[in-house]
Symmetry: C4
Subunit: 240 residues, 4 copies
Amino acid sequence: MTDAAVQAALTELVIANRILAREGVIDDFGHVSVRHPTDPNLYLLSRSRSPEIVVREDIIEFTLEGEPIDQNGRPMYRERALHGAVYMARPDVRSVVHHHARAAIVFSLTGKKLKPAFHMASVIGHDVPVWDSQAEFGDTNMLIETMEQGQSMARAMGGERCVLLRGHGATCCGNTLREAVFVSIYLKENAELVLQTLPLGEPNYLTPGEIDQTRAMLFSEVPQNRTWDYRAARAGFRGL
Amino acid sequence: MTDAAVQAALTELVIANRILAREGVIDDFGHVSVRHPTDPNLYLLSRSRSPEIVVREDIIEFTLEGEPIDQNGRPMYRERALHGAVYMARPDVRSVVHHHARAAIVFSLTGKKLKPAFHMASVIGHDVPVWDSQAEFGDTNMLIETMEQGQSMARAMGGERCVLLRGHGATCCGNTLREAVFVSIYLKENAELVLQTLPLGEPNYLTPGEIDQTRAMLFSEVPQNRTWDYRAARAGFRGL
Amino acid sequence: MTDAAVQAALTELVIANRILAREGVIDDFGHVSVRHPTDPNLYLLSRSRSPEIVVREDIIEFTLEGEPIDQNGRPMYRERALHGAVYMARPDVRSVVHHHARAAIVFSLTGKKLKPAFHMASVIGHDVPVWDSQAEFGDTNMLIETMEQGQSMARAMGGERCVLLRGHGATCCGNTLREAVFVSIYLKENAELVLQTLPLGEPNYLTPGEIDQTRAMLFSEVPQNRTWDYRAARAGFRGL
Amino acid sequence: MTDAAVQAALTELVIANRILAREGVIDDFGHVSVRHPTDPNLYLLSRSRSPEIVVREDIIEFTLEGEPIDQNGRPMYRERALHGAVYMARPDVRSVVHHHARAAIVFSLTGKKLKPAFHMASVIGHDVPVWDSQAEFGDTNMLIETMEQGQSMARAMGGERCVLLRGHGATCCGNTLREAVFVSIYLKENAELVLQTLPLGEPNYLTPGEIDQTRAMLFSEVPQNRTWDYRAARAGFRGL
């Protein structure tokens, strides 16, 4: 049972890697993790490898502090701290995605706030905070490499599902792996839609009530299955 | 004969699903229906599944009220009401497409009206109305789930082939399935073209007379066959 | 010898159809013709079919007036007049492309003139005239269906290699089929580049002297072969 | 040993050609060279052929003056001077890429300076100079065909890794072939990101300290391997 749960989590995590690559959310860098299905103090994350080419053998177990349980000499992502910090701060979170989707970065570079403009984007929530590494850490290599940096970012995220990192990218999370992937895709899609709209004027965003009702509907089982099957098929996994 | 007509309709409906996915009109959500070829009080629509992966076995028969004739436990799209409401209000309509093409949504978010700027786009008609669920229903989950909502949207559509849904997407229809697919694609293409043009100034749109003459030409048999064969080939169906 | 020349022309014409589809210059509509290699009073053009799926058996011979020599019941493109009119007016022209590349259409919709902004675009020439069917023919179905319309368009084109058709598309030509394809692709590419640049200010276009020198270089044999082999490979014809 | 180094360099150079084509950095024209692994007075560059279809047998050895060692009748790129001039001026450089990425060209056409707006783009450096062939050479065919032109461009580049060529493209270099490819891709990506951002206001660029620290991190071994494996896989070389 335990073992089956781990095997299922590994399968889903590999598919999530490929989906995020296929959808242009993640390119050479960026990564996705899932909390261990039976031990909430561990999470699963690939070795240092682009999601496009991640396979099951690349997955390593980590403590929330980012220490590998079974490294076996494999190189590791440097930004493990952002995964661990979110899992520590948010018991509700079971999956974290870190990516550099260009349209999302745009909204980290000026004072313009990103808000949901269409129904699917309700999943990014009422507020998308921006975290700027300069504020607390000054000049850095822009990565989130220490637990202090990860925790600072997690504080900025608060109870939301997304946080933008100035000049860097975004971190998204979800109550399930599928949710985190879904949120990541629609953070990007919404940013692109708003960028298309702004030259015509300020868009008529979703109301707070619409965000709440639509998000609840989208996170229910049938739509989550529908989108996952679609994204998985596009990423090469048909008929799972 | 009847059976052959149904089989032909099913084949065409599966191809339409794949075309709309291939052309980026529909992604994970959105759907396309066709009126039953021999019983105008029924329509055919897939089970809840993304059009990219719909196959013949997914198609269910529905009454215009959205009740399934042969569900067999398959999950259903929640927005069946928008299909039925259009079929009820418009005896001329034999196919309905509901999609979330981004550029079309843009024109639902500000007061800017969408008008045809190039010949192919004449098929979207003289006016593309915008329906806002807020006006009549207040905060909702943005879906068209009740017949009242569907009928409200159908009233906004009036005798046109397209209606935009604020912060949500569009509903397009046609006298044939091929027309509805064609209109959906060129609603998106025209919105993208106008968005590219606006920074240079207000485009010189088609005149009313040009819209009428060009649309009549485009809905004739030879161009409809040409575009269908092309789209079907791109979607993987060559040499049909 | 004659027969070999015709066979070679047919092969190249099929490849040109596929290249224009692959590069997004032509989609469901649009077409490309080549003057008959041994009889300058004829030209070769596909039956009514999207370039993406044209095969050798689709090619029909036409008189410059657009009468088919060997129709054999095949449906024909309606806009043959634009091909014939250019061949009549321009003995130097051996190939004509008619397409609806979106970025080119943009420059037919406002008063903004399209000019070459980078070296490859020198091939569109010093001036890209815009022909508006309204001026001489009033409301039409936007197609160029009569020789009068074709000749009006050819007059607007004058001695240039491109003419934009308001709310419709563009007609491009060349001294060879490869040139006409090359010009069509870079008309689109230059329009896209200028559209990207304009928000930053008016671009520093090529000077007249740069246009002349660069165009002469690009139309020489080595660059023409290089680009053709590349485009053909992308269209599925490798190692020809 | 020597021979193995040359074989490895040839393999990597072919992959670099395909990567730059796959990523849309280079299209029909443009080229990439690498300094000879054992003789710094030579460099390796393909015959005149689009990078998309370059194979090992296309690679020619050149002196820094652009004279072929082993031409064997193969047609050559005309802009060899830009490669040689950079190798002469910059002993630290082991690879040069010349390309026409559209978004980079945009920043050669107005006075707007291109600066790094996100972490990956730190590799383009603090300053991206623009070289205009007009200043020193007046009207030309826009190519860099003489050593004088190449040296003029190299002077403009100075100690940077990128230089934009007005109305033409860009030249990028690196201490390794992988670096030069990486810089070329992120020059394009950064230009696209900044173009997306400018309508919202001037972006909050990386600080000088962030550029230095981030660039040093990105040019280290693990990230360079990660991105190379990803780009190679996308270009068709998996599991190398």
